[in-house]
Symmetry: C2
Subunit: 308 residues, 2 copies
DNA sequence: AGATCCATGAAGCGATGCTACAAGAAGACT
DNA sequence: AGTCTTCTTGTAGCATCGCTTCATGGATCT
């Protein structure tokens, strides 16, 4: 007669991921188990919650309603745990952090190290994630904190039930082979050279195109690299110029010349996102880690100077 | 790592009933099971939730916090069920109604019969309850609707998370042995006769005393009856007069004379109480029953005329 | 048409939660 | 004081539940 909250969790995950197999993967069980739980839940609810659509399933109206309630219930449970942890006032438990590669290495790792040093009972787990996937994992509780980037001309919309915690501004840098000599950051001087940029559809590529067009030319992109380390290696080999955010400039090859991008300054903003706790405290462990993350010094963002 | 909602239910029940044994009875399990669940919950929570105090247990601060969250979570689950039922728009399931005896017989039973006749899938269960106990059962979900009474000079406080649904006003009647002749409802004429009243501490007794004192005398109470049927039998035997609410006047013995109590009119108000659904619908089944209950005709409240 | 992916069902096994019973602690009664 | 009662907690055993594995049935893509 009563709805089982554990099954509601399963339904919520299915609604989030859009399928039984995906939900099963997120829950670390087999699709069969998910299917059985949903079947039982439908019996408890007294009506069909999802129907087959092609190869997969879609939620019925009742399924959507119930999934929405499930979200609220799961939030209330998490709030209870947070309230309890806040009452104990001790920072422990696990904090799962998802971040894109350059932030993970330059920002999250040091912050995690500081937090772990300060709170011995803390367990921080860093996962490299894709932007889109990370939001699902944040909603489902697989992740507690995600670190996102936002290029200044591409604002990132954020749902109202998520909290935004600014971390840093990360200015773009112009990098060229040392053989080319210094350009003093003038983008316009590089209208006729070969370029290295990120893959189609990435915000980094859009940012590069945006900056070049502002400077009055269309870059001649010859090479594509998603990993900034590869970008640096390509530049080091003299294959072209590139625009790279400062955070990615760690362990720079010796053949790469770096200079800050002169006016107009192009930069990306880096921020953390957590599930919003409408009322009531967040888990102290999460707050402790966020404190370390947002306390990042400006110097951490300019490793260029240290390397040059 | 996660708090189990089923265990939170157990904790909530313990907080409500004030003990493990009482909670176990309400949950229809053995105290041992409750104790084990609480132990497991304490391990999940990471701190003690209750401590022994004398023969029983009391909640620790953490226990109170968690029980409070549990209440919210349970409410959210119930809201989910209500939302689902409202979506199905069909009136079915079980409605458990608690009422004091006279209302149960005169009001609840006919309303339940009408509701059952109109909605074949409905399952209504009427339970005779004590006022105090019924509120706990309402909170814990053992009952969905309780019917309470309120004498006009003794207002009944109601928590903010409960909804009040007025049903009827039930005026008091003056009943005397037929041999005494008609008194035309003047209470002052009966200052020197023997009286029959309810037991110490009952609101009915307070109401009788209040009415007599307003009329300027202290009644000479010789007999005590809680059940109004017994009161009527005692009056029928010529042992005294009594003040009885109209609803109790069913199947009146032939030797009993009934007349409405003249000014000042003393009456009790009868109302139903349900758990408040802050936002979102109530279960259609409960609404359907409430509709029948509040649609009670005035004629139902004056069976006197039909019997006289 | 074959191949692939996804959801669902049946059988079996391990874990979980219950009952029954016993023991210990703290009032209440005589 | 001593005994009784009441309440909670612990242990052993058993039923139920939920998972995995394996197999089946649709639906889409090539």
């Amino acid at each position: 007669m009563d709805l089982d909250v554990r099954r509601l969790r399963v339904l919520y995950e299915v609604a989030l991921r859009g399928g039984i197999t995906a939900a099963a993967a997120a829950l670390h069980v087999t699709p069969s188990a998910v299917s059985q739980q949903l079947g039982q839940l439908a019996r408890e609810a007294g009506c069909e919650l999802l129907e087959r659509s092609g190869r997969g399933v879609v939620l019925t109206p009742a399924g959507h309603v119930l999934a929405d309630h499930a979200k609220r219930i799961i939030g209330a449970v998490e709030q209870a745990q947070a309230g309890l942890a806040a009452l104990r006032r001790d920072v422990n438990g696990t904090v799962r952090v998802g971040a894109f590669p350059s932030a993970a290495g330059a920002l999250v790792a040091p912050a995690a190290a500081r937090a772990l040093a300060r709170y011995p009972d803390l367990d921080i787990r860093v996962v490299e994630v894709e932007d889109q996937q990370s939001r699902l994992d944040l909603y489902s509780g697989t992740l507690d904190v995600i670190v996102l980037q936002e290029y200044d001309h591409v604002p990132t919309p954020l749902a109202s039930d998520l909290d935004r915690h600014p971390i840093a501004r990360d200015p773009m840098h112009l990098i060229t082979p040392v053989g080319w000599g210094s350009r003093s950051g003038r983008l316009g001087d590089l209208r006729d050279v070969r370029w290295i940029a990120s893959a189609e559809g990435t915000p980094c590529l859009r940012s590069t195109l945006h900056a070049c067009r502002l400077a009055g030319f269309e870059p001649d992109i010859r090479h594509r690299a998603i990993d900034f380390a590869l970008t640096l290696d390509l530049v080091d080999a003299g294959l072209g110029a590139a625009l790279v955010p400062g955070l990615a400039l760690r362990n720079v090859p010796s053949g790469v010349h770096i200079e800050p991008l002169a006016d107009p300054v192009t930069e990306r903003r880096i921020f953390a996102v957590t599930r919003s706790r409408g009322t009531g405290p967040r888990r102290p462990a999460i707050d402790a880690f966020l404190a370390e993350l947002t306390a990042t010094q400006r110097s951490d963002l300019e490793p260029v100077a240290a390397i040059r």
